[in-house]
């Protein structure tokens, strides 16, 4: 019998989502196709499966045999790849003696000392956490070191090597930095997380709603507007969710505000006028950072709704429930999802229980009212 990857199945709407353990991939299939996979992985012969299919579709058996063989080849055999990643040898790398920028960040009662070799390293991390800075201290709870050596940026936590990334992978370095930080704040390890979503999360103190949307669709602007109207910003850009409680955890980074949102936000946040501006030339993006209004970075709350939000000039308010399969297709490629089988199962179950909406707006008040409505009418735990 061929050895197949472990699979998980979840039927949502009229499709079946299949998860492959060896590649941590999710496939959206017709229910019948998922059924064929299930039977193949159980060791049922191709001929037997093809016979049933042939009867069901009234198609000659030779055609269905071809179909099942082809499916097996595409979905199982092709996935049997080994990791060909080049492993670098870091034994020669030692921590530099002098770090030119040393910052102390306070999150709840935990003090993080982060040493940056130069201004470049500082610029990759510090602006998002500037609001957490406290005066230099003699004692601290955790120590991070960030330095560039031979075109790679290195991260050490408590003098232990965590990883190194090339300049093209800088978003993975930043992601890992955030992950290490969040794990220390909440006393969790990587296996304790369901995933990290590229979204923003808002709470009313009782539950949270996750907002998704492509860059430039107004996710962060909406978040800034909502936090000025009685809601709490739980996390922006990096939304971690744990496996035990299946809840969104607070992340203390600032909200990045693009230049074209300033006009909308300046009347509410006059401090943005004098905040430092960061010009990311390569991305053609000028941003300022806005402090989140959350003060309890221990907070974690359930999330039962996903909202795809979009600001569109002159648009009427469009608010509708959308297909979960569509939402799934948008959510997965942008997220880090735990590759552990039990966690993937919990993720699929959590996702199946969600309600997903699309919210398109041009009028800020209407958007805020609609979000309040979601918080109030669909209250469930």
């Amino acid at each position: 019998m061929k050895k197949y990857s472990n699979l998980l199945y979840k039927t949502i709407e009229n499709k079946t989502i299949v998860w492959f353990e060896n590649s941590n991939e999710y496939l959206v299939l017709e229910n019948t196709t998922a059924d064929i996979l299930k039977r193949l992985s159980k060791g049922v012969s191709v001929k037997k499966i093809a016979e049933v299919l042939s009867k069901k579709l009234a198609v000659p058996i030779e055609k269905t045999i071809d179909f099942v063989l082809d499916l097996e080849k595409k979905l199982f055999i092709a996935k049997d790849f080994s990791d060909s990643e080049i492993i670098n040898d870091y034994r020669d790398i030692t921590l530099p003696k002098v770090f030119h920028f040393v910052k102390f960040y306070k999150v709840n009662n935990t003090i993080f000392k982060v040493s940056y070799l130069n201004e470049k390293e500082l610029s990759y991390v510090h602006p998002k956490f500037d609001h957490l800075v406290v005066d230099q201290l003699n004692s601290f709870d955790y120590e991070f070191h960030v330095f560039i050596n031979n075109n790679y940026i290195f991260l050490y936590v408590n003098k232990k090597f965590i990883g190194s990334w090339s300049s093209k992978e800088i978003h993975y370095f930043q992601g890992k930095f955030s992950m290490e930080l969040i794990q220390k704040i909440h006393q969790k390890e990587e296996k304790d997380w369901m995933g990290v979503f590229h979204a923003s999360a808002v709470s009313d103190g009782k539950k949270s709603i996750m907002f998704l949307g492509d860059s430039g669709n107004g996710k962060s602007t909406s978040l800034a507007l909502l936090q000025a109207n009685g809601f709490t910003c739980l996390a922006d850009d990096f939304v971690p969710m744990d496996i035990n409680k299946k809840e969104v955890y607070s992340f203390p980074a600032s909200i990045s505000i693009k230049k074209n949102s300033l006009k909308t936000l300046l009347p509410i946040y006059p401090e943005l006028e004098t905040t430092a501006e960061y010009n990311f030339t390569r991305l053609n993006k000028i941003v300022r950072y806005l402090k989140p209004n959350n003060t309890n970075f221990f907070e974690h709350l359930p999330c039962n709704e996903l909202v795809f939000i979009k600001y569109e000039k002159d648009s009427d308010l469009i608010f509708e429930e959308i297909s979960k399969i569509y939402a799934f297709q948008q959510l997965v490629p942008d997220s880090w999802l735990s590759p552990i089988q039990e966690n993937a199962q919990i993720f699929l179950d959590w996702f199946a229980s969600l309600t997903c909406y699309q919210l398109t707006y041009s009028n800020n008040d209407e958007m805020i009212k609609t979000v309040s409505r979601i918080f109030n009418t669909k209250y469930s735990i």
């Binding site: 959206v28 196709t33 198609v59 978003h171 993975y172 960061y278 297709q329």
Partner: protein, 59 residues
Amino acid sequence: MKKQLKNTANKSQQISRKDALKKIGNYGKYVALTALGTYMILNPQKAQAQSPEDPGTGF
């Protein structure tokens, strides 16, 4: 050649799915088989990532 392309794009030549199925007659049953072989592969990010906000052009 150019003219031919134009003809293909002519709206009056477009037919509905129902008509198309009628036209292919007995082969219509294979449509179901093709639909079963249509799927979408979604790969999550390989590691935790932030939105890229990279000042400058590399190290």
